[in-house]
């Protein structure tokens, strides 16, 4: 009788202890949910992060909330330890990849706004792996400027910290010095613009550029010399068209290429027929390396700031 009483009491005590432990575990999980949701909401709806380090801090806050909520939830579930470890590995790997991706997207948008440098006769945009030749007898303005902004709070007086969705930036402008300057005649120029862009594939990209071409046709006295087409120069897929504004004999060759999450637009403008050949040489000089990623192997990028 005594034995049977002991046997029945022990499991009750254990169950109660487990219940209390389970209760506090559930409370901790709820706190993890609150943390994760609050941090995510702040990340998405809060004011834009002003620096790469601030952005990383926010991501870490989201990650900690996620780790607390998901980690405790799995640890408290009724699964075998091996199953728990598998789930933890999968869910933390996904979170890590997503976090790195968010960080990369933010940081690459900052790095594209870093001023280009001239190295060994080439203009180099290190942040996006782009370089091209600095043509002879030319001068360049390599300070990036945002020309079209949808951000109501953009401060035009300071160098923008990053290029955001919907904005367009001039990354560089190269002016060719004319051999025989004529008053009132514009020098030939090459302007490099960038904006966030994503296309499913080359066909979708070509279709989008056709819309740019159609817009140029609305300029008075303009005519298309070369319709939108795909070309491959120096191993890079380019999509381009060319138009002319007739009375001034102003030629503009518009060349587009995709670089990571951006679309780059090279505007090659001239009123000098002879300079059009120079543009061919210029385009052959473009080099585009894959944009370094946190996930690329074996090199990882150094943070910009």
């Amino acid at each position: 009788m005594e034995t049977s009483t002991k046997q029945s009491v022990a499991p009750v005590a254990t169950n109660r202890s487990n219940d209390v432990r389970g209760y506090w575990l559930d409370v901790a999980i709820q706190m993890g949910f609150v943390w994760f949701l609050a941090a995510s909401t702040w990340y998405v709806l809060g004011p834009d992060a002003q620096s790469i380090s601030e952005h990383r801090q926010r991501l870490i806050l989201v990650g900690l909330g996620y780790a607390m909520a998901v980690g405790l939830w799995i640890m408290g579930s009724r699964q075998s330890p091996i199953t728990k470890m598998v789930w933890l590995s999968i869910l933390f790997s996904i979170a890590l990849l997503a976090g790195l991706n968010f960080a990369w997207e933010f940081e690459i948008s900052a790095r594209i706004m870093e001023p280009a440098q001239v190295k060994q006769g080439r203009v180099v945009h290190e942040g996006i792996g782009l370089s091209y030749a600095m043509l002879p007898d030319s001068r360049g303005d390599l300070l990036p400027v945002i020309t079209r902004s949808y951000s109501p709070d953009t401060d035009k007086s300071k160098l923008p910290t990053r290029l955001q969705e919907g904005e367009m930036a001039i990354l560089s402008q190269i002016m060719l010095t004319p051999k025989s300057p004529q008053p009132g005649r514009m020098p030939s120029s090459i302007t490099v613009k960038a904006q966030h862009y994503w296309a499913r594939n080359l066909n979708a990209f070509i279709r989008d550029i056709r819309q740019h071409e159609a817009k140029k046709l609305t300029i008075p006295n303009s005519r298309i010399i070369q319709q939108t087409h795909h070309s491959n120069i120096a191993g890079i897929d380019l999509v381009e068209f060319e138009y002319e504004i007739v009375p001034q004999h102003f030629f503009s060759r518009q060349v587009y290429l995709r670089a990571g999450p951006f679309m780059l637009n090279f505007m090659l403008d001239t009123v000098n027929e002879a300079d059009r050949r120079l543009f061919d040489e210029f385009l052959k000089s473009i080099r585009l390396d894959p944009i370094p990623s946190y996930l690329s192997w074996p090199t990882n990028p150094a943070p910009a700031k």
């Binding site: 109660r16 209760y23 506090w24 559930d26 998405v44 834009d48 939830w73 951000s151 955001q164 499913r200």
Partner: protein, 364 residues
């Protein structure tokens, strides 16, 4: 806290509404969240569209976004994601179709991620399946209301099926915004270059153009079929009621309200108004039924079944997490993998809803 544990009253599931009442959740909840939800959506949407557009411009991640658009797209995606709480988190349902719940979404996701063409086709399918699926949701509610009146699950099933298709598809096909729907579909096929193949041209250009130019005949056909069908529908139910069928007034009002709002929105409001209202009430109904039917399960999933306000907390969590997904998918999901994830979730929602709420199998 241990006191709470010791003295907590034994937990019981909320008493179901009286079987004779004919309601699913209860009179107030049914009228606000299910039967009258189209009117609720209309009442919310109207003020939104009276005020100037700039009132709703908000800056998120330094992008200026129309808050109305953001809200509805997030809410739509949130309700699409909600299906997983029924299909995957409810073990009784999950065990029935493990292959459909694991292998199919995984393969669909990988296919969409790997192939832009497949992703485009999946997106196109999702646009039109969405319309079909929405009509079937109202159909499903109607069948549940019928079963609450102890009517035979098969009685009038085909009639209701066609009636609900007519209520949804009719105004879309005959309405002023059919062209917008077509354009939405054509944009999904943007990856096809029509110069490359006659098939691409057929999909991207010829078929939409043909339908656009012949919409008058389409509208006439909808009316020619629709009006006699509605008369026949009423007559058939009148005959059935004389043979013992118990009329569910909840179903009758659900159909009347849904039809009137659908015709009003697609026929007389802008495309965006109609899109907003129809999708809002559809998602609201879905949240209501999942929160009710899965109450016990949600409490377990979110580990709140020990708390006195566990039911409320579970609803808060499920809405919050679904809205978080909805917000992410409508704002950030622009890459191949994320687009594929969003489209896969849409397709799985439309598909799963066809077999995880079976009235015949008494799953509801």
């Amino acid at each position: 806290m241990s006191t709470t544990l010791d003295t907590a009253p034994p937990r019981t599931s909320p008493p179901p509404p009286s079987a004779n009442s004919g309601y699913i959740i209860g009179p107030v909840a049914d009228w606000v969240l299910i039967i009258g939800s189209p009117i609720v959506a209309l009442l919310i949407a109207c003020p939104l569209y009276i005020l100037p557009e700039t009132t709703f411009h908000v800056s998120i991640q330094s992008k200026t976004i129309d808050a109305r658009q953001l809200l509805i797209v997030s809410f739509i995606n949130a309700h699409l994601f909600l299906v997983y709480f029924r299909s995957h988190a409810n073990q009784n349902i999950f065990r029935l179709y493990p292959l459909r719940f694991l292998a199919v979404p995984l393969c669909t996701f990988l296919l969409g991620w790997a192939s832009p063409a497949a992703l485009g086709i999946m997106g196109l399918v999702a646009v039109w399946w969405d319309v079909y699926h929405s009509s079937l949701q109202t159909f499903g509610f109607g069948r549940i209301y019928d079963s609450k009146k102890k009517n035979d699950a098969a009685l009038g099933r085909s009639l209701d099926y066609w009636m609900n298709l007519l209520v949804y598809l009719g105004p879309v096909l005959a309405g002023a915004h059919f062209v917008d729907h077509l354009d939405q579909g054509t944009r999904r096929l943007g990856f096809l270059s029509k110069e490359e193949s006659p098939w691409n041209d057929l999909f991207v250009q010829q078929t939409p153009d043909f339908l656009k130019t012949h919409q008058f005949y389409l509208a006439a056909a909808v009316l020619a079929v629709g009006v006699p069908f509605v008369l026949y529908y009423l007559y058939a139910y009148y005959r059935m009621s004389q043979q013992g069928y118990q009329v569910s007034w909840q179903k009758v009002w659900l159909l009347i309200i849904t039809s009137v709002v659908s015709i009003y929105c697609w026929g007389f409001r802008s495309f965006f108004d109609a899109f907003w209202v129809m999708n809002f009430f559809h998602a609201l109904q879905y949240f209501a039924i999942v929160a009710f039917a899965e109450q016990k399960n949600l409490k377990q999933v979110f580990r709140v079944d020990q708390f006195s306000m566990g039911g409320v907390l579970a609803v808060i969590w499920v809405v919050s997490f679904c809205m978080l997904y909805g917000f992410w998918s409508s704002t950030f999901a622009s890459q191949n993998w994320s687009s594929s994830l969003v489209v896969t979730t849409s397709l799985m929602h439309f598909w799963y809803d066809g077999f995880i709420w079976s009235v015949k199998k008494k799953q509801v």
